[in-house]
Every structure is written in structure tokens, then in C-alpha cells.
Symmetry: C2
Subunit: 242 residues, 2 copies
């Protein structure tokens, strides 16, 4: 193996990456077995596996028993990663703010609501209308929480502490949120809502929609939050993995 200095498995990994880039193996091709690579490079299978781990972590190969190692991409995937270590970081509401339940109601989804929620038409849901208040009792945002009617009773737990509603679902029902989808858009606050938020009617707002799904992809909760433009900015960081 060429130049010394670096580590064996790193050099072998780079060598294989280069080969894939040069088209020695193309996407869909199968790499030689670990045993064959070991004898080809005159190293142990352990070292080959370390090299393949490295290549796999770059998204270039997949490995399956019996099927072998298959090329997935010609070049390392350039992935940007946002890591959110705590739920608070995702929600970004300062400590001390509280959610207060205003109203709860049941309904059957019609076409437009089903489309908005991303669920089947005619399923039974509960809508929980809430307002988030800061420590000095001034309104931060209006939040509507939609849950399947089976989870209706979460409303009695909301506002007791700062636990997000989907965590309450996990605690009180046997469900686990696996994926969250967020949509951010701008809008204008309706007259009725502007009074609750203490702003001018029709003033600009930032709207966050969050959809929570379990591992099977089933909807657990949808929430919409409307913030007066001046009171909220959503911020996040992304890092390149190179």
C-alpha cells in the first residue's frame, strides 16, 4: 500500500473509494467478498471490515449477509446534519412560558381537514385550542393541537408543566413519536385571533405546523402555532459531515 503515515484501514478505504470513483466498480456492482479483499490487500479481514465501515458511513456501500457488499453511490454523500439534543431546542420557547387550554372539541375530518392533517377522511379527531403565555402573562402564540379522539384526554395534562403534548401522549398512551415534520410559513392574523394575541388585526405572523408520526408512519398529533412576527424567530444550525 502506497504512502505510509496514515492508518492501514484508512488507506484501504481511500483506495476503494478512489476505485469506485474511477468506475472500477459501478453503482449496483458487488464488491469482492471481505475474504477476497483481505487476501488481495494482504491484511486481516478485521482491517477490511474497518475500511468497509468507513466507506459505509459515507453512504457509498450497503452490506447484507449472503448478498455481499453493493456499491450505492459513486462518491461520498455530502450530508448536512442538524442535531437537536433536547426537545426544548426543537421548540425554542423560553422557560417560564406556559400553555393554557382554552377549548376542546371533537369532529370528523372532511376532505379539506383530512388533507391538511394528512389523515383519512371521516376519521374522528379532537381539537384542543390553547394559548402560550409568557411569565408576565402576555400571549406568545396561539396553538391548536389535533389528536385522534382516542387520545382526547391528553387535554387534562396540558399546561400542568412544560412537557410538550407529544411527550404527554407517549407518557399516557402506549405510543412513541419517531418522526416530526415541520412546516414554517408566514401569514396574517385574523381579527378574532389578533385580539387574543394583543396585536393589530391582519398583522404578519409566523406559522409553524408540526406533524408527529410513530414508527409505522401513523399520525399521532398535528399542531399549528401562530406567532406575531415580532415575537418569534426560528433558528437552527446545520453542519457538513465531510
Amino acid at each position: 500500500m502506497k504512502s505510509a503515515n496514515s492508518l492501514l484501514y484508512q488507506r484501504i478505504a481511500q483506495n476503494l473509494i478512489d476505485d469506485i470513483g474511477k468506475g472500477v466498480w459501478r453503482v449496483g456492482d458487488q464488491l469482492p467478498s471481505e475474504e477476497q479483499l483481505a487476501s488481495r490487500y494482504k491484511v486481516s479481514r478485521f482491517t477490511i471490515r474497518s475500511a468497509l465501515n468507513r466507506i459505509q458511513s459515507k453512504g457509498m456501500i450497503s452490506r447484507r449477509r449472503r448478498l455481499g457488499t453493493t456499491v450505492q453511490n459513486e462518491r461520498p454523500l455530502e450530508t448536512m446534519v442538524q442535531e437537536v439534543r433536547t426537545v426544548d431546542e426543537l421548540f425554542q420557547y423560553p422557560e417560564g412560558t406556559r400553555l393554557k387550554v382554552l377549548r376542546a372539541s371533537n369532529f370528523s375530518t372532511d376532505v379539506s381537514v383530512a388533507n391538511f392533517l394528512g389523515c383519512a377522511v371521516g376519521s374522528k379527531w379532537t381539537k384542543i385550542e390553547t394559548i402560550r403565555l409568557s411569565q408576565n402573562r402576555s400571549p406568545v402564540c396561539l396553538t391548536e393541537i389535533y389528536v385522534p379522539e382516542a387520545y382526547k384526554s391528553v387535554k387534562d395534562h396540558i399546561g400542568k408543566d412544560s412537557t410538550p403534548a407529544f411527550k404527554l401522549l407517549e407518557r399516557h398512551f402506549q405510543v412513541v413519536a419517531q418522526e416530526i415534520n415541520a412546516e414554517i410559513s408566514a401569514g396574517n392574523i385574523t381579527s378574532a385571533r389578533s385580539k387574543q394575541l394583543h396585536v393589530e388585526p391582519d398583522s404578519a405572523s409566523l406559522i409553524l405546523i408540526r406533524r408527529y408520526r410513530n414508527a409505522a408512519g401513523e399520525l399521532l398529533e398535528v399542531s399549528t402555532s401562530e406567532h406575531p412576527a415580532s415575537r418569534f424567530t426560528y433558528s437552527f444550525n446545520l453542519n457538513y459531515r465531510r
Copy 2:
């Protein structure tokens, strides 16, 4: 070791995780060396290392030569991850849209601008004003791109194709963007800008600010984009790693 069925290193990892949770080892404590753990569990050091890898991937321990293995957290870090596989996913502008340069100007940062950009007061920057147009030439958003004056000439490359400005910086100057910070807020479109965007003055808008930094944390570019509320929604997914 308790119940069979699962794999050796997984059971050992779970055992150690439980011990840490029970307070057998506390945050800051040093775990026994790999050698000691191997003899304690009567397995090879390889198996112990597999178990420790697993625990490390959960953010519970750090490992350093000579210093040993140190407990970092009492419980597995519940991390949410957003992966953006391509730059396009981050920008989310449909294909066919183009950036058109309107104007470029140099300036020295005063206090307020330096604060907004997140750079030193008095440094020299270039502001490139652009508009993004859809295929049918209707305006999508107004984008202002700020770069250190040394990179001023990027303006001649913007709009030639759909490459984002920070990628152009990487191509034409010896810099690499490592981290992107994004801020999303709502606002109102000023009268002058509303004409360019073909909307009513003072109507609601979604504003995206992106800051690009190299590995040393130095600012490479800051861009602000203002979108009429009806024309843009920012959407992303987060997944739990359990």
C-alpha cells in the same frame, strides 16, 4: 449475563448502561479499562469494545487514550436528526428558478450591520442584491448576499446556473463552508420591495437569513431572502435516533 437470545456485546452494553443509570458509575467517573471489563465479563476485549462503541454512539461515554473511558451522561441522549442529503433540499427552490443580480456595492460595517452579520465593526463587505425569478419570470423572492470584499467577484458567477452562492465561493476561492446557521422569521414587505415582488405593500413575508462559516468559524457569506407569504413554505423532517 442474564437472558440469552440477543447478542453478547449488546447485552454487555445494556448492562453497563443500566449500571450507569443506577449510579454505579456517575458522570465524570472513569469506567474500568477495557482489559478489566473483558476479564470481568469473561469475554474478549473485542467484544467489550463493540459494547463501548454502542454506548459511545448514545453519547453516554467518551474515550481517550491513556485517560480512559469517562461517563458523560447518565442516560442515552435522545437525539433528533435532520439529514439534508443535497444542498437543493436545504434551499427548496424548484428547478427552473434563477437568481438575477440587480446591483452590487461595497461598504464598511457599522455597529448595527456588524451585529446583524455577526462580524467585526469596520470590516469591508460587499452586498449583492438579487431577485429570484421562476420559469415564467414571476418573482419568487428578493435575496441580498453579503460577502467579505475579497470575494466580491462572485457576483459575476451568480445566475449563470443554479449553483448556490456559497458553492461558488468554494469553487473560486480556497474556502469551504462547514456550518450553516438559518433563521426564519416573518415580516412585512416594504413599499419599494413590494413593487419588485408584485405584491401589496406591507403584506406578510417569510424571511430567511443564512450564515455560512468555515471550520474556523469565520463568516464566508450571509444571505437574507424575503418571500411573499403565499409563495413559500419551509418544510423539514426530524427523526429520533433511539
